[in-house]
Amino acid sequence: EDQVTQSPEALRLQEGESSSLNCSYTVSGLRGLFWYRQDPGKGPEFLFTLYSAGEEKEKERLKATLTKKESFLHITAPKPEDSATYLCAVQFGNQFYFGTGTSLTVIP
């Protein structure tokens, strides 16, 4: 059973077209939920950690929110440089479970 599911698998947006990425999880006793950005050929770049339902964090055009069973990464007015794969991971104890990512393409 998948612990972390991300949707959609791929997303194409016009520049300036806001949207949201979803990360749902089935583990209980969440220690933290992480969002990362990964560019081709590079390691994941840390974006946010969320710890409890109702928490929100923002960074430039990105805003991450957390509920009891899912998290959303909202992208406001995206630019082409936001194109990347966005990974979600949950931590339960010392166990990390990664989703398969959402590949985002922002078209000028």
Partner: protein, 116 residues
């Protein structure tokens, strides 16, 4: 934050040989992790490496295949032993850093391994 470097950045190896990947962090950390990311897939945790103790391996990974060293708080190595083409993957080192009220996890740039 944490700055993590890995060596080599990429390598092409022959079946049956072994490769040791180095991970260096710019600050002392307690917990270091080794991940594998196979083509088109997400990250899979191989093991957790704590300084002064044996590494803890995840299900499906064994010490004979992936021996790990952690000689100090800023350095670790992962060896991929007796390689086969199925070991072709990106291998990533990561560290966890505690912050006031929480923690963050940072990744190195990865080592891209191709086994022929």
């Amino acid at each position: 934050s944490a700055v993590i470097s890995q060596k080599p950045s990429r390598d092409i190896c022959q079946r049956g040989t072994s490769l040791t990947i180095q991970c260096q962090v710019d600050s002392q950390v307690t917990m270091m992790f080794w991940y594998r990311q196979q083509p088109g897939q997400s990250l899979t945790l191989i093991a957790t490496a704590n300084q002064g103790s044996e590494a803890t391996y995840e299900s499906g990974f064994v010490i004979d295949k992936f021996p790990i060293s952690r000689p100090n708080l800023t350095f670790s190595t992962l060896t991929v032993s007796n390689m086969s083409p199925e070991d072709s993957s990106i291998y990533l080192c990561s560290v966890e850093k505690g912050l006031a009220g929480g923690f963050e996890q940072f990744f190195g740039p990865g080592t891209r391994l191709t086994v022929l």
